[in-house]
Amino acid sequence: MIPIEYWLILSSLLLAVGVYGVMTRRNAIVVLMSIEIMLNAANINLVAFSSYYSSLHPTLGTDATGQAFALFSIAIAAAEVAVGLAILLSVYRRYQTIDVDKINILRW
């Protein structure tokens, strides 16, 4: 069995990748993808911890909390993407671009 630490390292790296993407990529679609990566990092954690706890206390059966949570999270991520893409579409109509650097009328 893969030790829990490995999962944690993987999810942390994924989170870092996502964060880095949000902070640096100019294309709003890529930013959206980066956010998805971050959510998925959390999903990995959920599933990993779920299986970790199941193995920790085998007598109690499978700990399904994490896995159920992951399902919720995936659904939410999907909803978020849907709304996000719609918003980006509307931005594109007004700005003719989805470069996040250029979307900055509102400031100060």
Partner: protein, 495 residues
């Protein structure tokens, strides 16, 4: 009737969702879109009546039977009341504002959904429910803030809100997974004992700190806590004004509900770890909010910064951590909901009568519309905490809790939170008074303007509450006290 028992706890949400689903369809039935607003008021008003009857009049008792994820109690009831009140004000304020927009049914539907999400957060006892509630409210708000698709700024606000919102919810979720990893459960009341026992057998301390910091960031986004506040002014400015009111007065309060639950129930034992950090953030938040607000020329932006500052005040509750403080925080959440949504409705009225949202537009308003000027004055003075308005009563309880905590359980540095709070109140007076000055002491256009009646109703409702709570705070204090008693882990702190 086991199913009914489950559903009874969820009944408010169910009602809201049903109406939310029906509204887009109604959009095609009615030509006069104001009917939609009235329809969406039906669930809001009826739920308010139910809640008032329960919380204040004791005419009936809400079933507190619970399913695993949520619990209905005085705390959630109070928050629900806040959300519904704000919902009413916002819905009343909307028809004139979005008169020219299409798909108004969806607009109201989204408002109801956002409120649904908020109520779920307020009732949640489990991190899963909490997160789901946050997201329902969040995603609805993203869409709402971009609702005016013809406006550049609305679209930009939605984009920013969405990106930062998504980013923050990812961080929140990650933090929740860490807590789950440490504690092995997502039940909020279950976290703490297990944290103490350290079931994972790993060195949980750094992980726990990471989780709490990520939670501060994720939820700090919702309440616009510095330095996670940057989106707020932009979004409040760009979003349709009633929606800015919704964000400032309700969405932010949802963040507080979540924060209180997680930090004051889930992580209360580690309070000594995070209290200093949050105290510092509270002071920074109120100070930064007020300082920047001083130099704003756009009224919505100014109110946004003012909201940031108000969040700083409410944050005092966490480091003080007594039931009395929590009651103060709840009272301030309640009163702030009225005064801030009221102020945004005045701005919405200004928008609806084509004066705009620049500060300059307020020049000579007392001549043009004495009603708007007077109510705005009351809202602003209340925000500044001038007696005998509602804002004073709630700030009084809130700040006094830190004074008391510094005397009784300690530590004594807590009194500086109150000092910072009152100094910031004085600072905030500067920009509030400037608006009043523009309205009463500057010369402006002489033409009188007429406020649409439905907005008048919204503003009147808010102003009556602001003055009413200010003059007769007793039942509200009592309600907040009852609500705060749900947090049994906290010291009482009542004098």
């Amino acid at each position: 009737m086991a199913v009914w028992n489950y559903l009874e706890s969820l009944m408010p949400q169910l009602v809201l969702i049903v109406f939310a689903l029906v509204l887009p369809a109604l959009d095609y039935l009615f030509k006069d879109k104001r009917v939609l607003a009235l329809v969406s008021l039906v669930p809001l008003v009826s739920l308010v009546i139910l809640l008032v009857g329960w919380l204040f009049l004791d005419v009936w008792a809400m079933s507190t039977s619970m399913i695993d994820l949520i619990e209905v109690n005085a705390f959630s009831g109070l928050f629900m009341l806040v959300f519904l009140f704000v919902g009413i004000v916002v819905v009343l304020g909307s028809p004139e504002f979005i008169r020219t927009d299409r798909n108004q049914g969806e607009y109201y539907s989204l408002i109801l959904l956002a409120i649904t999400g908020m109520t779920i957060v307020a009732e949640s006892t489990d991190l899963i429910a909490l997160f789901v509630g946050l997201e329902i409210a969040g995603i609805s708000s993203f869409a709402l803030s971009g609702f005016r698709k013809t406006e550049k700024r609305s679209a930009e606000a939605a984009t920013k809100y969405f990106i930062i919102g998504g980013f923050s919810s990812a961080l929140t979720l990650f933090a929740i997974t860490l807590i789950y990893g440490i504690a092995g459960t997502t039940r909020i009341v279950g976290i703490e004992p297990i944290l103490a026992g350290n079931p994972a057998g790993i060195d949980a301390e750094p992980m726990l700190i990471l989780a709490s910091v990520l939670l501060m960031a994720g939820l700090g986004f919702k309440i616009a806590m510095v330095p996670f506040h940057m989106w707020a002014p932009d979004v409040y400015e760009g979003a349709p004004t009633p929606i800015s009111g919704l964000l400032a007065a309700a969405s932010k309060k949802m963040g507080f509900a979540a924060l209180f639950k997680i930090f004051l129930i889930g992580m209360i034992l580690t309070k000594t770890d995070w209290e200093v950090a949050i105290a510092a953030l509270a002071i920074i938040t109120m100070t930064v909010g007020n300082l920047i607000a001083v130099s704003q020329t756009n009224i919505k932006r100014m109110l946004a910064y003012s909201s940031i500052a108000q969040a700083g005040y409410i944050l005092i509750v966490l480091p003080v951590g007594t039931q009395y403080a929590l009651a103060g925080g709840l009272l301030h959440i309640l009163t702030h909901a009225f005064m801030k949504s009221g102020a945004f409705m005045v701005v919405a009225a200004m928008g609806a009568i084509a004066i705009g949202e620049r500060l300059d537009g307020f020049k000579g308003l007392s001549k043009r519309s004495p009603f708007l000027a007077l109510t705005m004055t009351l809202f602003l003075l209340s925000l500044a905490g001038i007696p005998p308005l509602a804002g004073f009563a709630s700030k009084f309880v809130l700040f006094s809790s830190s004074v008391y905590a510094s005397i009784d359980p300690g530590p004594s540095w807590l009194v500086w939170l109150a000092v910072a709070g009152v100094l910031n109140s004085a600072l905030s007076l500067y920009y509030y008074a400037r608006v009043i000055k523009y309205m009463y002491m500057e010369k402006g256009p002489e033409t009188t303007v007429k406020v649409p009646p439905i907005l008048t109703v919204a503003i009147l409702f808010a102003v009556v509450m602001v003055v009413g709570i200010g003059l007769f705070p007793d039942p509200f204090v009592e309600a907040c006290r009852t609500a705060a008693e749900a947090f049994a882990g906290l010291p009482s702190g009542w004098p």
